[in-house]
Point group: C2
Chain length 323, copies 2
C-alpha cells in the first residue's frame, strides 16, 4: 500500500494479495447474459452475479480481506462496523469463519432478512437511528466498549482492495468490455473497480449508477468535492451512505460519469431482471440496469459489464407489490 | 430410434444427435451449489439451472430437437401442441428460430406470464378448459384445421431425446452424483434423464418428485400401470398432466422411487431457494427440494443432483404472499 500524508491508498498488488487471501472464503461467481436484454438495449451485457456470492453480496470480498489480514493479536479483540446491511453480514460471516467476535451497528429500519442473517452468522447487533450521524455516534460507543478493530464498510484500503477482486475475476471470465457499470453508495465497489481496471484494462470506461433520491455522489462528481446527505430516502437501501475521502479519490480520478434513476425506474429494472434473467437481486443492484435502460443510446453497440452487487431482499416485501 | 410394435423408443444415440442439433439454440446452463442447503440437509447438492434456459425452461431442449429435426417439407406446415405452459413457449421459441408457424392450445387458467411469452415468440394460442379431456378435444380441432406437425409435450421420442441432453450436460459439469432428482408431471424430463443415465451412469439412482395433490405418477408406480387424473389441482402447474405410454416405459424401468410433497412444503422449498440461492424458480421445480427437505435421512451423505426445471413464474402472484 502506498502511504500518503492523508490516507493509505491501496494498489493493484493489494488486490492480487487480497484475491489469494480470500479465495477459500468466497465464490467465483458466474457471469450471466440475457439475449432478451441484449435485444432490448442493442448492446451486449455481461452480468457478474455477486448476488450468488457468499453472504449474498460482493461485500464479503472486502470484509474477508480485512478479517483474514489481521494479525492473531489484533484478531482476538474481534472486529466491529456500522453498515446498512450487506457489509454487516459479510463481516459477521468472515469473522465467524475466523472464529473471532463481530459487533455491528445497524439502522433499526434495516430489512429484517439482513438482521436475521447477521445473527445467523454469529454477529452481535446494536441498533441506531437511520441516519449517518446516529450511526457514527452509536458506533463510537460500541467500539469504545469492545476495543475491536474497525472495518469501515468502504472507506478502508483493505476493503477496497477486496472489492477490486470482483472486476479482476470478471476480466478473466470475459474477453473484456467497453464499459463497466456498478452502483454507487459509499463507493467501495466502484473504487475497487477503478483500482483494478485502471491497472489491467485502463481503456474500459467506468460508469456509476445512483438513485435520484440519494444522488449525493452525482452532485459531488459535478461539484468536484464530497457532498454528503445525512439520511436520504430510497428503496435502494445499500446506496444511502455518502462518499468518503478514500472512495472519493478513486471516483474523482477514474469514473467517467455518474448517472441516476428514479425509484420507479429502479423497481422496473429489478422486476425485469427477476422476470427475464430469473435471478433474485436487491433494489440497490437494479440501479445499473435502470440507468442503461434509460440511456440506451449511450450503451448501444457496446460490450457492457454490469456488477450485480447483492441478492439479500425481503421476499415478503417486494416493491412492485407495494406500489 | 428402436422401433417396437407399439411405439418408437429413443436411444442414447438420439440424445447425442439431439445435442448436436440443438446446441445453437439452447444455453449450456450452469450448475449451482448452496453451502447453506448442504449444511441443512447434510448432503452435497448440485442444482442444474434450467430456469436460466432459453424460453425459461428445459422444455426448449425437446421442442428444439423436434422442430429442427423436421424435413423442410414438413416444416412448412408448422408445428402444433397442447401444453400447460413451458412446452408451449419453448415450441413457439424454436418455431420462431426456424421461421415456421406454431399453434398452441393452452388452458385459459395458465399463468398470464406464460401466455404473453408464447405470443412474444410468435406462437398462436387457442384456449381450452383446464382439464386433459378439454385440452385434447380442442387440440384435435386445431390440428385438423392447420395440418401442422404435432409435437406432444412429452410423449414423443424427439422430445424425450432432447430432454436427455440436460443430464448429459450435467454429467459433464460435475464428477457425477449418487442420486438425481427431477419433478414428474407427464414424465418427459424424467424419461430423458432415465435414457441418458441408464446409458452413461447406470449406477446413479433416479428419484422423481411429485405434488401430493397430483400424485397420479406415484400411484401409477405403485400399481404397475398408468393411472391418469383428469384435472388435479396443485400450485405446481407444470406437473398436472398424466404419464403416457412412452414416459411410462422409462419411469417403470429406471426410476427407483417417486416421492411426494404437500402444497405448503412446495411453497416453503420455493421460498427457501429464492432466499438462499437467489434464483427465481417456478413452483413445479421446487418439488424436488421439497421432497429432499422432507426425507433428509434418505439423502444424507450423498451427492445429489437436482434439476431446476424452469423459472417462468408470475411475479405479481407469489404463493407465499397469497396464503
Amino acid at each position: 500500500m502506498k502511504d500518503t500524508p492523508e490516507m493509505i491508498i491501496p494498489t493493484y498488488d493489494d488486490v492480487v494479495s487480497a484475491h489469494e487471501r480470500i479465495k477459500p472464503h468466497i465464490h467465483r461467481t458466474p457471469v450471466l447474459t440475457s439475449s432478451w436484454l441484449n435485444d432490448e438495449i442493442g448492446a451486449e451485457l455481461f452480468f457478474k452475479c455477486e448476488n450468488f456470492q457468499k453472504a449474498g453480496a460482493f461485500k464479503v470480498r472486502g470484509a474477508s480481506n480485512a478479517v483474514f489480514g489481521l494479525s492473531d493479536d489484533m484478531a482476538t479483540r474481534g472486529v466491529a462496523t456500522h453498515s446498512s446491511g450487506n457489509h454487516a453480514l459479510s463481516l459477521s460471516y468472515a469473522a465467524g469463519r475466523r472464529g473471532i467476535p463481530c459487533n455491528v451497528v445497524m439502522p433499526r429500519t434495516a430489512p429484517e432478512a439482513k438482521k436475521a442473517a447477521v445473527r445467523g452468522y454469529g454477529g452481535k447487533i446494536t441498533e441506531c437511528e437511520p441516519s449517518t450521524s446516529s450511526r457514527e455516534q452509536v458506533f463510537a460507543q460500541v467500539q469504545a466498549e469492545t476495543g475491536a478493530e474497525f472495518v469501515h464498510p468502504y472507506n478502508d484500503p483493505r476493503v477496497i482492495a477486496g472489492q477490486g477482486t470482483c472486476s479482476r475475476e470478471f476480466m478473466e471470465q470475459t474477453d473484456g468490455v467497453d464499459i463497466i457499470v456498478a452502483p454507487i453508495g459509499g463507493g467501495g465497489m466502484i473504487s475497487g473497480t477503478c483500482l483494478t481496471l485502471s491497472n489491467i484494462a485502463p481503456e474500459t470506461e467506468i460508469i456509476a449508477a445512483e438513485p435520484e433520491q440519494a444522488d449525493d455522489a452525482a452532485r459531488s462528481f459535478q461539484a468536484g468535492y464530497i457532498i454528503a446527505d445525512d439520511s436520504p430516502q430510497t428503496i435502494a437501501d445499500g446506496l444511502k451512505v455518502p462518499l468518503k475521502e478514500l472512495t472519493w479519490h478513486f471516483v474523482s480520478n477514474h469514473v467517467s460519469d455518474i448517472l441516476t434513476a428514479s425509484e420507479q425506474e429502479i423497481v422496473d429494472a429489478m422486476k425485469i431482471t427477476w422476470a427475464r434473467m430469473k435471478i433474485v437481486m436487491e433494489p440497490s443492484c437494479a440501479v445499473p440496469l435502470a440507468i442503461i435502460l434509460k440511456n440506451k443510446a449511450r450503451f448501444a453497440g457496446k460490450r457492457v459489464g454490469v456488477i450485480v452487487t447483492g441478492g439479500n431482499v425481503d421476499l415478503d416485501k417486494l416493491p412492485w407489490l407495494n406500489t
